[in-house]
Symmetry: C2
Subunit: 353 residues, 2 copies
């Protein structure tokens, strides 16, 4: 049995008893029932995921997977591929947005090179799991082999397991990879069946001509490879990316260990589609952090039946939205765990009309 | 010169030079320009408010004003007035939602009795500024005198000044008061001119009959008192509440000291309307934290030209949404201050097409 099939087999349903206990406790806390809205439902989901009626999530970590994309050579991004390794070094030096926001919320940043097209210097904080020097250009050949696709997902599973073994009790996904909105749009179009133009946006900020080129490249690749929308590894191999596969693995690994996993933006959304195609049972373990500006993100939410927590007009990736979401998950659990009940506080209940 | 008129006179325009410097720095940071959306615009607003190109907001505090309402006797709330003092004690014991969320984001909670209809025990954490044992029932007489209205606002100004003198560099508003959505809806209808039914909701959770009663009570009061929508003290005196006046004062006090002030939900929104009627120059100092479920909140945003940061389906008050908003304000400022620039990180810029 492979790590992938074993992990998928371990993903069970949410713990209904823990969720029911959390709901019951919410209704005794000193506030009108339901008055904390999404924070209440989120706490109940966390209870169901963890199996704990009052989960305490004290050790959040975001896994940032970095890789390059052969398709970036087709002029689909506003930035050159050399930015991918440069930004990995920025992550390691603590100067990127994800570092700042992770520090703000007290989350650990785990940086993984799963396929950056450059030799990166060894660094104690860099996890080297490079599958290759970027994917192949999927406008002319599959992005990777099926074996590599499974390898990418299994690297992600192993990273989730390592993080959880090291104490993480709340995970989030983050990405870095010039060209990866192109791969993500291809994945989203393939799995959801939506027209390419409907799920393809400007990424880091291409102009109209670049956007038209990007759409044409994706349409051409889908016509060439005809990925099977019911086969996550087929879609990943033909039009995906190493980091997208890795993040799908993080999601599966977290779900198998009953750890809530907060999904960042559009690239993480594509990874979630791959993960849930491989294992529909992973869906209840997902928390969508935010609605990205990137066109196509709503198609992900619709397909996975997710509602993002916030919409702050962000479109950066790296896990920047996800770490804000992790902080809300922690807030929700603290509400459930730390608030006084009506009985404890001696507060009167509702008037009977 | 009164504290009120003096404070209003001190509210100046935002510092355009600091805001421009913040904008210029944002555009050099290692991310596509604008990719952090609202976090970027928020950081620029904070720079303009504080006059610092890279503001550091390290000492957040939420001022929770508590008071009772004579109109609560008309059966407009799902909870009895005795809940107001009970919840104040809950605040002091650290068991309420605002305590939990304030601890989560590292904010101080400042609890003020500005008119609770009960004798509260002395407590080192309770600021006693009681104007009266709740307001009068505004369905039959003005809620308070004009002198009391000014007193309420000046108490809020003094509380803001005290908090800032003690080190607070970011303030938020919070409320507690059974019946205060009724007063707030009356204030919102009076100032915005919208129909009462359009700005009146279920508060803590009244049923259909209660809602109809609530709307009728407000319509009757507005017809009886005819508050002048251009005179904030007149509206406050006739159909407002002590805590609403106090929070209006917190807003004015913060603006006069160039401290950003994060507005909570519907009651705080009514206070913001009063504050901006007294001093339109206070508007740029406001940050709307969240969109409440309470019907009528959108009328506040439209009138004040504010866009809430998040929508989490909350309707509790106490400052619960505002403290989450303060954390986002801090995150925004840290992005501006702590991220590496393209030059510092050696990251390549955009490709010239």
């Amino acid at each position: 049995m492979s790590l992938l099939t074993d992990t998928i087999a371990r993903i069970g349903p949410l713990d209904d008893a823990a969720a029911a206990a959390a709901q019951a406790r919410q209704d005794t806390l000193t506030k009108p029932q339901g008055a904390l809205g999404r924070l209440e439902t989120l706490s109940i989901q966390m209870a169901g995921i963890t199996g704990q009626p009052r989960p305490r999530l004290t050790n959040p970590a975001v896994v940032v997977m970095a890789a390059d994309h052969g398709v970036a050579r087709r002029g689909v991004s506003a930035y050159p591929s050399e930015v991918t390794p440069q930004m990995v070094l920025n992550f390691l030096n603590g100067g990127a947005a994800i570092n700042v926001l992770a520090r703000h919320v007290g989350a650990r940043v785990i940086v993984v090179d799963i396929g950056v097209a450059a030799h990166l210097p060894a660094h104690p904080e860099l996890i080297d799991r490079k599958i290759g020097m970027g994917t192949a250009d999927f406008s002319v050949e599959p992005a990777m082999s099926r074996v590599q696709a499974q390898q990418a997902v299994e690297i992600g599973i192993a990273c989730a397991n390592d993080a959880i073994d090291a104490g993480a009790d709340l995970l989030a996904t983050g990405d870095m990879g010039i060209g990866n909105t192109t791969a993500s749009s291809a994945v989203v179009a393939a799995i959801t069946g939506r027209p390419v133009a409907e799920v393809t946006g400007r990424g880091t900020g291409i102009d109209d001509a670049g956007l038209a080129r990007k759409i044409a490249v994706i349409e051409q690749a889908l016509a060439l490879h005809r990925p099977d929308p019911r086969d996550g590894l087929d879609v990943l191999a033909k039009v995906g990316g190493f980091e997208i596969g890795g993040l799908a693995g993080v999601i599966l690994g977290a779900a198998a260990r009953r750890v809530p996993v907060v999904i960042d933006g559009f690239i993480s959304g594509a990874a979630a589609l791959i993960a849930c195609t491989l294992a529909p049972s992973a869906q209840p373990y997902l928390i969508a952090a935010h609605r990205s500006v990137e066109r196509g993100h709503d198609a992900v939410f619709a397909h996975l039946d997710l509602t993002p927590l916030v919409d702050l007009g962000m479109r950066l990736g790296e896990g920047t939205g996800a770490v804000l979401g992790m902080s809300l998950c922690q807030a929700a659990c603290k509400i459930l765990d730390e608030m006084a009940t009506f009985g404890e506080a001696g507060v009167s209940g509702k008037v009977e009309n």
